[in-house]
């Protein structure tokens, strides 16, 4: 496996794939590396697409993971605008959409996830967008001029960040959510309430418990979102952010073990020892919880890129990380770590009304997850305490007079 000259082919040139290629070179891999991407541009960071980039605070250069010349200089064959159609694991080859067949020694699947489509009438109208790629973001940014009306379908992070950016650009925004609260799948109720209030105070409208029945249009362009009951919310552009299923079809067709994502071990290796899977497409072990899960985050993509690159180059595996992520909305820095499995108490530290607080999810005296709003110490200490599986005192954790340094001591 650690043959120095083995040829590594990476399918998917996103954050995970691009990072794996660069790390393989950094770790001394001398053999050929081919990085194949469906999008027409070199690997770039996606998180800013709904944040700084959308607001015009970051340019294309700053989004790029590496400068254009990096790939040629380091001997990484970057093949763009090409899709991988099939993996032939027994032959160690892949078939490409341009008709070519490519051999591999080691394959890394980093095909990510795709925006879930809305299965309702009108979803194909112009102006109905999703937000996964730079091209999506370009289209959304062009539509968000002052006075334009954005309808966000789905009150998740992407939708909320886009709504915040829309307000910063002078556009109107309404967020439509099927559940009684936003962020229902990914955050606790305290956070949902905080962000709902924060957005409302900045002019964002909410339609909760609302089911979208159809998108209405004129001359092929979206003009409104129709809810069950018949009410129509007029809009100039609609952003659909209702989740992202994994692009694991080629892996599944090749016989790799898939269970809502490609199943991998702690080295990011699939059920085929010569095939790795990293990033949003993988279903991975979570060491600190003795469980497996599919994560969708940059931190996960980078951790697994490190795992795969280490395994391929014969390095010791990197430490197991606690999953974490962040979201920027207006001036709020929201950071969260861990996953609230088996939680018996939700403990609030600080005061949401003051705009600085953290919510700890506890199982007995162990922290399982932390959600921190403008509270970096709580986030950092919480993440470390989750990793260490170290018992804490609930009363000290709840007391802001006791610093997080002292709680963690």
């Amino acid at each position: 496996m650690s043959e120095e000259n083995t040829s590594v082919v990476i399918v998917g040139a996103g954050h995970a794939g691009g990072t794996a290629a660069a790390l393989l070179r950094q770790y001394g891999h001398a053999g050929p590396i081919t990085l194949i991407g469906e999008e027409p541009i070199a690997p770039y960071q996606r998180p800013p697409l709904s944040k700084a980039w959308l607001k015009g605070e970051a340019d294309a250069d700053s989004l790029a993971l590496k400068p254009q010349e990096f790939y040629a200089e380091t001997g990484i064959d970057l093949v763009l605008g090409v899709r991988v159609e099939a993996i032939h694991a027994a032959e160690h080859t892949i078939s490409l959409s341009n008709g070519r067949t490519l051999p591999y020694g080691v394959l890394i699947i980093a095909t990510g996830a795709r925006a879930r489509a809305l299965p309702i009438p009108g979803a194909g109208l112009k102006g109905v967008l999703s937000l996964r790629s730079a091209a999506d973001a370009e289209e959304l940014k062009a539509a968000l001029t002052p006075g334009k009306r954005l309808a966000v379908i789905g009150g998740g992070y992407i939708g909320l960040e886009a709504a915040a950016s829309a307000r910063a650009l002078g556009a109107e925004a309404v967020v439509i959510e099927r559940e009684p609260r936003i962020l229902a799948r990914v955050a606790c109720e305290i956070l949902s309430t905080f962000f709902t209030d924060y957005h409302r105070a900045r002019g964002v409208a909410f339609e909760l418990d609302a089911i979208v029945e159809a998108l209405e249009g004129e001359s092929g362009r979206v003009t409104g979102v129709r809810l069950t009951g018949g009410r129509v919310l007029p809009c100039d552009v609609a952003l659909v952010g209702i989740g992202a299923p994994p692009n694991d079809e080629i892996a599944s067709a090749a016989g790799l073990n898939c269970q809502g994502g490609i199943v991998v071990d702690t080295h990011a290796r699939t059920s085929d020892p010569d095939i790795f899977a990293i990033g949003d497409v993988s279903h991975r072990p979570l060491a600190h919880y003795h469980r497996t899960f599919r994560l969708e985050s940059v931190a996960n993509a980078l951790e697994q890129a490190r795992q795969a690159a280490a395994a391929i180059t014969g390095r010791p595996p990197p430490p197991q990380e606690v999953t974490w992520n962040w979201s920027d909305q207006y001036d709020v820095k929201y950071q969260f770590a861990g996953i609230p499995f088996d939680v018996d108490e939700i403990l609030l530290r600080g005061d949401p009304a003051g705009g600085k607080f953290a919510v700890f999810h506890l199982a007995g005296d162990l922290i399982q997850a932390v959600e921190a709003v403008n509270a970096p110490a709580e986030f950092m200490a919480g993440r470390q305490l989750i990793a260490q599986r170290r018992p804490i005192s609930r009363s000290r954790l709840a007391d802001t007079a006791v610093s997080m340094k002292e709680v963690a001591a």
């Binding site: 940059v298 931190a299 110490a377 470390q384």
Partner: protein, 106 residues
């Protein structure tokens, strides 16, 4: 273009021309310099771009924000000259800056 010297924990030196306006972190990451991970891409959300600023430059790189200070409080092996390199913007005044990387960012 300002030159910045990045010194890995094992002593390997990399002298890089970094464009004005980029961060010290971006200068390293875009040039594939080992030792700075920068998982969040510069949002001051992760503390994986920790560096030690050479003592002679400590005053010239500006002050830490409260956010950066809190994040650094919980990073590994923090010293008085520790900074998050995503929070240091490169200017002509930083031509010659030297930063050292910690053993690990995780």
């Amino acid at each position: 273009m300002p030159k910045i010297t990045y010194i890995e924990h094992n002593g390997s030196e990399h002298v890089i021309d970094v464009k004005n306006g980029l961060s010290v972190m971006e200068g390293a990451v875009k040039n594939n310099i080992p030792g700075i991970d920068a998982d969040c891409g510069g949002a001051c959300a992760c503390a994986t771009c920790h560096v030690y600023v050479d003592a002679a430059w400590a005053d010239k790189v500006g002050a830490k924000s409260a956010m950066e200070e809190s994040m650094l409080d919980f990073a590994e092996n923090v010293e008085a000259t520790s900074r998050l390199s995503c929070q240091i913007k490169v200017t002509e005044q930083l031509d010659g800056l030297i930063v050292r990387m910690p053993e690990s960012q995780h």
